[in-house]
């Protein structure tokens, strides 16, 4: 849709006519790519990044055409992707970093996704077919470059990534090279990456080209057991503690980097993925109420009772699972529905805390 149509459909008058449901509910009926506020995207193509990798999860880059409501993104941001998995009709939403260079409103983007064993959504996406519709959020996240690639500076930038953490960093490198004068970054960039193996390295050809090119970017790739060492970093960037740094990767890597930079170093920006919490299958463990910062040993009682025992006052109504007044988001861990006995370990799941008790460690946004 053109921008004028989008503006018109997003207008107050149209909202008043379609109140209380909003215009998108009607537009979607005619064409899934029509939207006034919501963002959706069509999968245009899928490219397998590591066809030869043995023993490691497949990785694919999906090119997406968002609806005209997409406001664009800055390099380093991520997006929430919602899909209804076949056979379940349940929409699952997960975050994925955008791997393409910064986009303008309505422009195509790419997501590079590793099909984790436990990740139903990532598996589905890696095997998706062109034409598949996805629900998107607007771009989110503060893991972004604060300077414009088009303006040369003397600043030195450091980028460190591990495994799939290369995705947002790649978006930044791509943006620097695309927008920088003469295909160069126009500032010194040191890029250090850790991957399991050479076969497992995604974007390998592009990385080789970046490493070779005269573009102000130094690429250092490490394979296998090599882990981050402060010593090595100091050799490359003596004054790294005072150098703007972006680090993205698994929790362990980020811990090492944080230790090297010192706590609360404003020069260091990190983004990391949590290892999935595995339940012990028994009561015990800790329950944390993340919003209020309270946590305690899991007594096995319902989340509502445990929260109240800690002095929290979550909203509730019937206390028997029928009114949905008490719904909260469980961000992590396993819970059991005390009415049905059903256990669930899905991340970011909405639960009725009056009829839900934790099994082992569990975090609730409350």
């Amino acid at each position: 849709m053109g921008t004028i149509t989008t503006k018109l459909l997003g207008s107050k008058a149209v909202a008043a006519l379609t109140s209380p449901h909003g215009v998108d509910r009607y537009l979607e009926m005619f064409n899934p790519m029509w939207a006034a506020t919501e963002v959706r995207a069509r999968v245009v193509s899928i490219h397998r990044e590591n066809p030869d990798a043995v023993g490691s999860a497949p990785v694919a880059t999906l090119t997406l055409q968002p609806t005209s409501t997409w406001r664009g993104h800055r390099a380093g941001q991520y997006v929430q992707v919602g899909v209804e998995l076949p056979g379940s009709a349940r929409r699952m939403t997960r975050c994925f970093s955008i791997s393409s260079a910064a986009s303008l409103p309505g422009e195509r983007i790419t997501l590079t996704i590793r099909a984790n064993d436990e990740g139903q959504v990532s598996k589905f996406l890696v095997n998706a077919q062109p034409g598949q519709m996805l629900h998107l959020s607007q771009a989110e996240g503060e893991f972004t470059l604060h300077e414009s690639a088009a303006t040369p500076t003397n600043n030195h930038l450091v980028m460190i990534s591990g495994g799939s953490g290369i995705t947002p960093v790649m978006a930044q490198i791509r943006t620097l090279l695309r927008d920088g004068y003469d295909g160069r970054a126009n500032r010194k960039v040191t890029f250090i990456h850790f991957a399991r193996s050479e076969q497992d390295q995604i974007f390998a050809e592009e990385l080789a080209a970046v490493a070779e090119g005269d573009n102000h970017i130094d690429v250092h790739l490490h394979y296998g057991d090599a882990t981050f060492s402060e010593f090595e970093l100091r050799r490359l960037v003596p004054d790294f503690k005072n150098t703007d740094t972006w680090a993205c990767g698994p929790g362990g890597l980020i811990e090492l980097i944080r230790a090297a930079y010192g706590e609360e170093n404003p020069r260091l920006r990190v983004e990391f993925f949590k290892p999935p919490a595995f339940s012990t299958g028994a009561a015990g463990g800790d329950v944390s109420f993340t919003r209020s910062g309270e946590s305690a040993e899991n007594t096995g009682a319902t989340l509502l009772e445990q929260a109240e025992a800690l002095g929290l006052k979550p909203e509730f109504g019937c206390r028997m699972g029928i009114c949905f007044s008490c719904v909260k988001t469980k961000t992590d861990g396993t819970v059991r529905n005390v009415l049905t006995g059903e256990e669930s370990s899905l991340p970011d799941e909405e639960v009725r805390i009056c009829v839900t008790s934790p099994v082992g460690d569990c975090s609730i946004d409350l």
């Binding site: 008058a13 008043a16 006519l17 109140s19 209380p20 449901h21 509910r25 009607y26 009926m29 919602g82 209804e84 056979g87 379940s88 009709a89 349940r90 929409r91 699952m92 939403t93 109504g317 019937c318 028997m320 699972g321 029928i322 009114c323 949905f324 007044s325 719904v327 009415l339 049905t340 006995g341 059903e342 909405e350």
Partner: protein
Amino acid sequence: MSNTLTTKNGKPRATVAASDPKIPNLTPEQLEEFGDELDAIRQRILADLGEEDAAYIRKIVKRQQQFEIAGRALFYLPPAWPLAVAALSVSKILENMEIGHNVMHGQYDWMGDPKLNSRIYDWDTMAPGENWKYGHNYIHHTYTNILGKDRDIGYGILRMDEDQKWRPYYLGNPLYAFLLMIFFEEGVALHDLEVDRIKTGERTWEETKKVGKPIIRKVRKQVLKDYVLFPALTGPFFLSTLAGNAVANIVRNIWSFNIIFCGHFPAGVATFTEEECENETRGHWYYRQLLGSANITGGKLFHIMSGNLSHQIEHHLFPDIPARRYPEAAVEVRALCEKYGIEYNTGGLTKQLWTVARKILRLSLPTRTRNTDPAPAAPADADLVAA
């Protein structure tokens, strides 16, 4: 509760308060077993939810939108005015009942679709979803038919139970009921204000303001849409569109009023006192829901148009299960009722409506004799076959 009686053949029988049929006539053990059996039905259906349920509700939404668009468009063709009104009425009924009411109950929350999520959805009526969910999902569904707690008994306007003390005001019962039917939408919106409780001082002005602001906002939006913008869009037909929208809203009001009043007020439906329900078990809660609700028989289309509230009994037992599953649950619930000798209150729309109307008329006058309604519980001499 009261004493446990024994049947002729020596089996433990109902706990019965001789004169009061409202008190559960099952032993605590039976109640527990009864509760477990209902839980099992519930669990089986929950485990089975999936693509079909999702496809169903999406199809209903789509149909509703088609009716809505058709209705709005037909107002441009003055001779098609009755058709336009009919289409818009159908759309509003579908939206309020099978979609709005059920979605706001959280029946489709498991789908993870924000457009069908109970916390996000708001329906096409003047009652803001936020207020209604509190009064309905929490108060009405938890304290169903408990006098003094369930504010849906008479909506604070009508006398719908003998135990509501008669006052001369209630001479107007039939008139108030008629007005409530015509202005049901406005009534439901104002219901949450609990005006009657402000008078008695049970509710403060602060609380009232918190509930009142969203009502004003919502009413404004609904009025703007149905009585200003859409009429204006049809230009020279402004007045006929306005009238058409008003009629559609009223048709919807009359329909939902009747369906809802048949859910809790036909003859044979029990009410309870707060004492009876103190420290209530889950089994007893189920039992109360059963005795406090009534079904309406009808065809598939009728069930859809009533938002499956024609299965009020199943809805009250399983308020968070997608309503399209109530007919299948009903088969099992009925069998359970037979097993425990509990009356399963059901009947055709005319029969149920007739008894509701009679009740409204009768209760407009002071009550002379108690319990003129047939007893809701099993007749006293019926044998109870347990297990």
